[in-house]
Amino acid sequence: MFAVCTISFLFTGVALSGETDLRESVVKIYITAQRPDYSMPWQSLPPGNGSGSGFIINKRRILTNAHVVSDIRFLQVQKDGDARRYPAKVAFIGHDCDLAVLTVEDPTFFEGTKAVRFSDSLPALNNEVTVLGYPTGGARLSITRGVVSRIDYSIYTHSGADQHLVLQVDAAINPGNSGGPIVFKNKVAGLAFQGLMFAENIGYGIPVPVIQHFLDDISDNKYDGYPELGAAYLETTNPALCRDLGMPPNKTGIVVYYLDPFGSAIGCLKPRDVLFSIDGYKIESDGTVLLNDNNVPFAELLERKQCGQSVVFKVWRDNTEIEVNVPLKISADPFAYRNIYDKLPEYYIFAGLIFSPLNRECLRAANRHSHDRNVNQLNYYSQYAKIDNLNKDRDEFVVLVRQLPHPVNTYTQSFLNGIVTAVNGINIRNLHDLKTAMTKPLNGFHVIKFAGMDDSLILDAVATVKANEEILLRYGVPSPEYFEIVK
């Protein structure tokens, strides 16, 4: 198991004249960040200081990694050869592609700086690149050099769920390098963003196509993110399967077997559709397309698309070849469990029981007790919510994440990490429902039912009224709830 860690790069001064120029573009970013405390969702963890790298792009903006400036409380930037630190702001942040754009109000900051130019194409394997940044080990700008050792499609650890193109280089990438430019022939070919723990000479950069996608996306002053096709497919490498699907013998493609209800393809594609081509590119039986003489996953073509654009598939359906246009949309999927940033956790406390929508932090905390059957159920629900239709009747999964001990809830431990299905006879679609249902006790009791459990949690309604106040006071909880304001 490799752990990928976030990092970024810099050069020392060897160099081509171009790199000297780039020194005027690279900035150091000083941050104070603070994560919410998911075990006590009404408060936050101690703030921490750190630094990263970034570089200046056109329109007086600074590009860096999203992970450098996530959950930020205070942010300053500094350029090479200037002692002053300038306050900065996060203008746009894309957690799915780990990129962010910063702005600096003080126009003097940009004096003597230069916006970088981006490379028009990806460097080839074995092309020499240099990396600039402010990594650990010193205070000043650092430059390292290496070659492009691989261009691949890989997981972005910041969100923990998204895959995009990455540029792998053999130059050392260390903490603090994050956000620094990877330079090829005086132009920026990528942005250093993560390394690989327990491996040597493997550093990863975000290549220009992903950067360009981000910059295009924010050109309308808002970030939508990557659209999700939301179609699971099977290769058609098996001839018997091809015959069963009635595919013409000379055709290749992939067969759709599941459509995500929150994806773009639902309603356009159908299960058993065979996708022959995407935007004119022929799809091979293993799901790849030929792009610049490389066989790459067809999803790489989707990488270039923005929400609002469309993709056109040639599809084999009911023994006929048809054309299907799939408009790409933002995926607002409450059942995709990405890492969360820049958000305060939603919670609702009743009788010392802390309820929260299922999220990745909650899963992480629960999995520290891996042999608990409720925890296994959380894992099952998080992975199979849509596939096994567990999200039927739910907008989100409401979980009993913790108990603040008090006589009113002494006998509730066995329900921890359980998923609430009904309270007082009312189906629970979301945390709001739970709050409402708690105002309607049945015959003097609150009856809370959980998924996969025969037993119910029973609370004495009268006792909870007094207990609610006592518990908040005793445990120093300023508010019994936090709900995100719906835009």
């Binding site: 099977l234 290769e235 058609t236 490498t237 098996n238 001839p239 018997a240 399967l241 015959r243 069963d244 699907l245 067969v255 077997y257 599941y258 299960p271 058993r272 039986s285 891996s370 042999h371 059957r373 296994n376 159920q377 894992n379 099952y380 992975q383 199979y384 596939i387 096994d388 239709n389 009113v408 002494t410 006998y411 066995s414 009791f445 009856v447 996969g452 459990m453 025969d454 037993d455 029973i458 609370l459 004495d460 006792a463």
Partner: protein, 490 residues
């Protein structure tokens, strides 16, 4: 009716002193049981794992029979008995074994005079604070005697199977070197060791009452075994919950959560019933009662210890706020009724290998074959079924049929990454268990297509290649039989 057991202090002399065993120095009564065991390989069910040796002890119950633990002789390929101070190994066979009790009776194959054993006497009482002694062999097969003290009496799960048992916990001064070691009190057999922890120097033993129960059952064919009621329950301590279930009796009663399909409880108990009395004993809110012989015990002992399958016991319950008297018929628990069977004895499981697809039923043994961290390592969907629906088949006979894996071969190109997926249909026909698949195989001659849960396309096999592929797979992967079905199909 209460038998008070006086605290017996074992003096060094009292073995020779004790009357019935006057001459018994246990040389002819305790044997070392040397077992070679071999399980089937869960992931390659047509072959067996490496055989491995196990050593434990047994105690003579007749001139040719020995009682020992079932766990010791599980999956044996050879059992040999060794007497004290002797190097000779006498082959033995299993007369009867019961994983629900963790007990077995072995018989010496060649019952000639020189092999004959001296049966021990069973103790007839044992208290929570008795001093006892333990017998085992040292490296030279000399009998070694250790002292021990009983420190706890409780109902706990067997170490080798998920069944409750009455266990006496002992604290000892010797390192116990094998299960089945006899525990003696006054020269009589008080129990057999079933587990031991070196760190705390404590062990658990099955007491004489359980051994006697088992032995008398073995003597009376057909073997009835140990009883089960077949329901899930929870303590009822929470005052709010007691009020909610309208239970007014202070500190009494447990809550019925669910009754297992096909069990005796399912005929008369309902979820949310509160059991106040079981078999005329008051049950407290934690599920304990006052046993006349052993003091405070968890009530499952009233079922497995004091009753037998087939018995009907009276209950006093609260249902919807009203007190009622009902009866529950006890039965012997069986894997057959469960959606996911345990297969604790690791019996050979049925399978089908067709076109490289390995098809089988999900079982507890299969999941546990993934190692200690199986709950993390196995697909959470299967783990969830096991943990939450194991006892809940929608219909009697329902099982979970899985595509356990695919043995790569040209016929299954494109399908080789499937693993631990649930099969819903074979050849377009719904299946509920592996017997259904065998039936379809018989009717249709082969597997043409598999439908998997939550997947809208089928895995199709090329019929023109299938027969040749099966031959090829059998040869390549060295599979002596591509299908295995127990003769007695459910």
């Amino acid at each position: 009716m209460k038998t008070f057991i006086t605290l017996a202090i074992i003096l060094a002399a009292n073995v020779t002193f004790s009357q019935p065993q006057k001459q018994n120095n246990f040389l002819q009564s305790v044997v070392q049981v040397q077992v070679t065991s071999q399980e089937y390989d869960t992931f390659l069910p047509w072959q067996k794992k490496n055989p491995s040796p196990k050593i434990g002890y047994g105690v003579a119950v007749s001139s040719s029979e020995v009682i020992t633990t079932e766990n010791l002789i599980r999956n044996n390929t050879l059992i040999e008995l060794r007497k004290a101070s002797s190097g000779e190994k006498i082959p033995a066979t299993v007369v009867m074994s019961d994983e629900q009790a963790n007990l077995a009776i072995l018989k010496i194959a060649d019952n000639s005079n020189e092999n004959s054993l001296l049966p021990v006497q069973f103790a007839d009482s044992l208290s929570r604070t008795d001093d006892v002694s333990i017998l085992q062999f040292d490296e030279t097969a000399q009998i070694q005697r250790g002292k021990a003290q009983i420190v706890q009496v409780s109902i706990r799960s067997l170490p080798s199977a998920p069944y409750p048992t009455l266990a006496f916990t002992i604290l000892t001064d010797v390192n116990i070197n094998g299960e089945g070691s006899p525990v003696l009190r006054d020269g009589k057999l008080a129990g057999l060791i079933i587990s031991y922890d070196r760190g705390s120097r404590t062990g658990n033993m099955l007491p004489y009452v359980t051994l006697k129960h088992f032995l008398s059952d073995v003597r009376q064919s057909p073997y009835k075994g140990f009883a089960s009621a077949g329901f899930l329950w929870a303590p009822l301590i929470d005052p709010a919950k007691r009020k909610y279930h309208k239970v007014n009796h202070a500190n009494k009663g447990i809550l019925v959560l669910d009754c297992l399909l096909g069990s005796g409880a399912s005929m008369s108990l309902l979820p949310n019933d509160v059991i106040l009395k079981w078999d005329n004993y008051s049950i407290d809110n934690l599920g304990f009662y006052e046993d006349p012989d052993f003091g405070r015990l968890a009530f499952p002992y009233l079922i497995m210890g004091r009753r037998s399958p087939g018995d009907t016991v009276p209950l006093k319950i609260v249902r919807n706020g009203e007190e009622k008297n009902i009866t529950v018929k006890l039965t012997r628990r069986s894997d057959i009724d469960a959606l996911v069977g345990e297969n604790v004895t690791r019996e050979r499981e049925e399978y089908i290998v067709e076109g490289g697809f390995i098809i089988r039923e999900l079982s507890g043994a299969y999941l546990q074959a993934y190692g200690q961290d199986w709950q993390k390592n196995v697909d959470p969907r299967l783990v969830n079924i096991y943990l939450t629906k194991k006892f809940h088949p929608e219909k009697e006979g329902d099982k979970v049929v899985i595509l356990a894996g695919v043995l790569p071969n040209p016929i299954n190109i494109g399908y080789q990454h499937f693993r631990d997926d649930i099969i819903t249909k074979v050849n377009g026909k719904h299946i509920r268990n592996l017997a259904d698949v065998f039936r379809i195989l018989k009717d249709d001659g082969s597997i043409k297509r598999l439908s998997l849960q939550s997947m809208d396309i089928d895995l199709v096999l090329d019929q023109s290649m299938l027969s040749e592929s099966n031959d090829n797979l059998a040869q390549l992967y060295r599979i002596p039989r591509l299908r295995f079905q127990h003769r007695k199909s459910k």
